[in-house]
């Protein structure tokens, strides 16, 4: 059996075709969140799911292409956050490979870690591009409160990101985990890098 590491850059056709499907799932997650009037974005289920299925590299590529396509179809602002999405894909891919998606409890921890890292990556971007704000009402209200009490810019900006990102990513990772768990084995093995069971 040809064993490949999770960092393999040789993508099978099916892994490449997973990329547009995952971006579509991102889009639908966001669509359903709006349809159900949920107070979160939930716009990275596809990134998380593809990272769980096909590893960190595919997850990161999904993240980057997702935001580039968003930039072309909705608003160029999302180009900026391509890095955040890529890091989300990477982190989920690595942690999933190490076994952090074996139970609901672990998935919640994974969500917390992803949210924390996403906020850490977004903060410098927010400071660089728009003096630390996110455009989310709750986050920016906290930002205003902290700034009014003379806190440092990065503290306020990080708090702004974290109140928005952590709940969003916990829910996203949890939903992705539930979807992942309910997938039949033949679908999960299709993209599996650990050993090539089925080669298309």
């Amino acid at each position: 059996m040809n064993r490949k590491s999770m960092w393999s850059l040789q993508f099978s056709t099916v892994a490449l075709v997973l990329i547009p499907a995952a971006i579509g799932i991102n889009f639908l997650g966001k669509l359903f969140a709006e349809l159900l009037k949920l107070p979160l974005w939930i716009d990275s289920i596809g990134t998380v799911l593809s990272a769980m299925l096909a590893g960190p590299i595919i997850g990161a590529i999904v993240g980057i292409i997702n935001n580039v396509i968003y930039g072309f179809t909705t608003s160029p602002i999302s180009f900026v956050y391509a890095i955040t999405q890529a890091v989300i894909g990477l982190v989920v891919g690595i942690m999933a490979y190490k076994g952090w998606i074996s139970s609901v409890k672990k998935a919640i921890i994974l969500g917390l870690v992803v949210g924390f890292i996403a906020a850490t990556v977004s903060t410098p971007l927010n400071i660089m591009f728009w003096e630390g704000m996110t455009g989310n009402v709750w986050g920016d209200a906290l930002f205003a409160y902290l700034r009014a009490n003379d806190n440092a810019l990065w503290v306020a900006s990080f708090a702004d990101s974290i109140v928005v990102d952590v709940p969003d990513k916990v829910v996203t990772v949890l939903l992705s985990f539930l979807l992942f768990r309910s997938l039949p084995k033949n679908v999960k093995n299709m993209y599996d890098n650990h050993g090539e069971i089925e080669k298309l």
Binding site: V17, L36, F72, I77, W130, V137, L175, L183
Partner: protein, 255 residues
């Protein structure tokens, strides 16, 4: 089927410029407006960008795109105007609430930059067909396999959106509640998204078989369906843009 992109088909000199030059313009416009912290300079870049949009006959299509970021812009102005820590000079008062000059000046600069970023990429997005951009990138060495991935996203998303309509109706007919308290709505997320996810993942298998049959992994040199004339002024325009960027960087480092 509704197209996904913001591209507008028009006949204008801007539409005829090759995609890479427009991409370079967007990058140069955004980076210079962030390198120089001067209101007048950023306003100049923005004006030039707007003039290009007018020349491309797409100026009215950029407004809804800017409006999408209205919340971000509004919160920048409000938060920086009221709460910036260096608040000292009162610029003017709305009722009895003072707006401070320092914060307002920063807010204005950031707003100009955000609008510049949106408009500069708008030049590329509104006047370039995604197919043309990707094809140019393939000519410059992008893997054709990745080119397929990029373009297929634009086809797959409308298909998936159409599918979700059917699934939402089917699940509602089975008695799934999609309205009610927050928890009810969260609970209905999985039954709605699950079938679409499974369906689209199954489709990737068929799609990859179909692609491999058609020589997707072929190593031979690819040819193009459409022979396109190279754009005459591409090189001089690119040189001007790069020179401008270098000048701005040098000026910023020196002064």
């Amino acid at each position: 089927m509704k197209t996904m992109t913001l591209y507008r088909e028009k006949d204008s000199p801007i539409h005829r410029i090759d995609p890479l030059t427009k991409l370079l313009f967007a990058i140069v416009a955004v980076s210079t407006s962030y390198i120089v912290s001067n209101h007048v300079f950023v306003l100049c870049v923005l004006t030039v960008t707007f003039l290009i949009l007018i020349a491309g006959k797409v100026i009215k299509y950029i407004l809804p795109v800017i409006a999408l970021s209205f919340l971000l812009i509004a919160s920048i102005i409000i938060v920086q105007g009221f709460f910036h820590p260096d608040r000292a000079t009162v610029l003017f008062e709305i009722g009895s609430i003072p707006i401070y000059k320092e914060g307002f000046s920063i807010a204005l600069l950031v707003t100009l930059r955000v609008v510049t970023m949106i408009s500069a990429f708008g030049v590329l997005i509104l006047t370039t067909k995604p197919d043309d951009l990707v094809e140019t990138l393939v000519e410059k060495g992008l893997s054709p396999r990745f080119a397929y991935v990029l373009l297929s996203v634009l086809q797959i998303i409308p298909q998936m959106v159409a599918l979700t309509g059917k699934i939402t109706d089917a699940q509602r007919a089975r008695g799934l509640e999609t309205e009610g308290g927050l928890f009810v709505r969260f609970k209905s997320f999985i039954p709605l998204l699950g079938p679409v996810v499974l369906n689209s993942l199954n489709e990737t298998r068929e799609r990859s078989i179909a692609l491999e049959i058609r020589g997707f992994n072929s190593k031979s040199r690819r040819t193009y369906l459409h022979e396109r004339e190279p754009y005459k002024f591409g090189l001089p325009l690119k040189i001007i843009l790069v020179l401008f960027l270098v000048t701005v960087i040098v000026w910023r480092v020196v002064s």
